[in-house]
Amino acid sequence: MAVLEETFECKKKLAENKKLEGNEIYPHEDIYALIERIKEGDREAFMTVTNRYQKRVFVLAYSFFRNRDDALDIVQETFLRFYQKVNMFRRGENFQNWLLQIAKNLCVDYYRKNYGKNRELKTDTPVEEMNLPLQNGNNPEVSSDLKRIFSACIKKLAERQRMIFVMKHYNQLKYKEIAEVLGISLGTVKSLHYKAVQNLRGLVAPYMGGQL
């Protein structure tokens, strides 16, 4: 159980680091005041909100697409939609979740529109030729291949499973928050996350020397 405690500690530290990098939690009243100003066309307030939430949207989009330019397009489009729909935001709602909901919808639409079967994985080395035990993760080349493998495997997940996995692992969202963003129940989130991890396990295992 000492290993487990270590895992939880590690997760906590990771979450704290993320907060330091731009995932700070802002008081609701502060956000509501900014949004009221944005409704009146205040550009400064809009820039403040963008500055606060841009990284979270980027992380979601980048985790989803694994492409910097596409992720930046999504960031841009998300804040445009936010501005267009700002009057629909109601006091009492969780702004971050509301914004990520916009970003998530855009990611899904963008993926369906621009990504097909042709763009699932772009790598010089076929995935089948990569057989990388996880213990060799310190080697930069091995690490690079591992990233590609994992990236490809994530993309093979069903859309909702992938979104939940990304939100949980890279956006550090709680199940409750994910449920709110996706508009589904907590139980469904838990179940889909479980399926996502199990599917990934099955997808990654052949490339890890069957260790998983």
Binding site: M1, V3, L4, T7, F8, K11, L14, E21, G22, R43, F46, M47, T48, T50, N51, Q54, K55, F58, V59, Y62, S63, R66, R68, A71, L72, V75, Q76, F79, L80, Y83, Q84, L134, G137, S143, L146, K147, F150, S151, I154, F165, K168, H169, Y170, K174, Y175, K190, H193, Y194, V197, Q198, L200, R201, V204, M208, Q211, L212
Partner: protein, 269 residues
């Protein structure tokens, strides 16, 4: 006691700290005793750790973005697009209102009205105002104009004949002493010059309206006046008297009267 199936189902949630405190304690107690579930947990943990390799990738990608400049860039694009969207939406609304299907009969009516109006205007103005209105400055039917011109020619001819008649009468009736100097008198010379000038003016009119008889007599008179004014200076009194007699013999004055009557008759007709 929780069974293994329930544990395995929630192991991922347990791994990510998504269980309630009391559930977590139950899970821990089970995992202490069950090596199968512990092994399962270890494997899931390795998947989660493998997922962490992508975190580095995300961090690298984030490091390439200028986060300071991005908000102003986004803001610029958003506000520019918004202005365009507002303008477009205004145009779309206007177009939507004007192009709504229920207005089609109105537009059809307007179109028909415009076409009919144009046609009626064209017809009305085409009849009442011919194309040569700008050239003449007024309009009158062609036959009316011809009648007016004929009437003017007739009057001019009558006037010419009458004045010639009086002058010739004066000459014919003048005494033999005066007749030689008649055409040298200021009055007669002026009258003769006027009549010669007038003859030049009525010539085209006489030709145009084919007043042959009138033209013939007018030509004779013209010749006579020319002769009398130019030659009479060199003539003797006797020769001038001869001329007087010749006018009487040829009944020039009578002929003038007849032509005058004829022209007046034409007028009465």
């Amino acid at each position: 006691m929780i069974n293994c199936q329930r544990i395995k189902k929630d192991l991922v949630a347990f791994l990510h700290g998504e269980l309630e405190e009391n559930e977590r304690e139950l899970f821990k107690a089970h995992l202490d005793q069950c090596s199968g579930c512990r092994g399962e947990l270890e494997e899931l943990k390795r998947v989660t750790q493998a997922a962490d390799v992508l975190q580095e990738d995300i961090d690298e990608a984030m490091a390439t973005v200028d986060w300071e400049a991005l908000p102003s860039q986004i803001s610029r694009n958003v506000f520019r697009k918004e202005v365009r969207r507002h303008r477009d939406s205004w145009l779309t609304k206007a177009a939507g209102f004007l192009l709504q299907p229920r207005l089609k009969p109105v537009y059809a009516g307007l179109l028909i009205g415009v076409v009919l109006g144009a046609l009626v205007t064209f017809m009305v103005f085409r009849v009442s105002q011919p194309t040569d209105i700008a050239d003449t400055g007024f309009f009158a039917p062609q036959d009316f104009l011809e009648n007016v011109e004929l009437e003017m020619a007739r009057r001019d001819t009558l006037d010419y004949l009458e004045r010639s008649q009086y002058l010739l009468l004066d000459f014919v009736q003048s005494s033999s002493e005066r007749s030689a100097d008649f055409w040298q008198s200021e009055y007669a010379a002026e009258q003769a010059r006027d009549l010669l000038t007038k003859k030049k003016y009525i010539n085209p009119q006489l030709d145009k309206f084919q007043l042959a008889k009138a033209k013939a007599i007018c030509d004779q008179i013209e010749f006579l006046f020319f002769e009398l004014t130019q030659i009479s200076v060199h003539l003797s009194a006797e020769e001038v008297n001869k001329l007087q007699r010749m006018i009487e013999d040829k009944q020039v004055l009578l002929k003038i009267n007849l032509i005058k009557k004829e022209l007046e008759k034409q007028h009465e007709m």
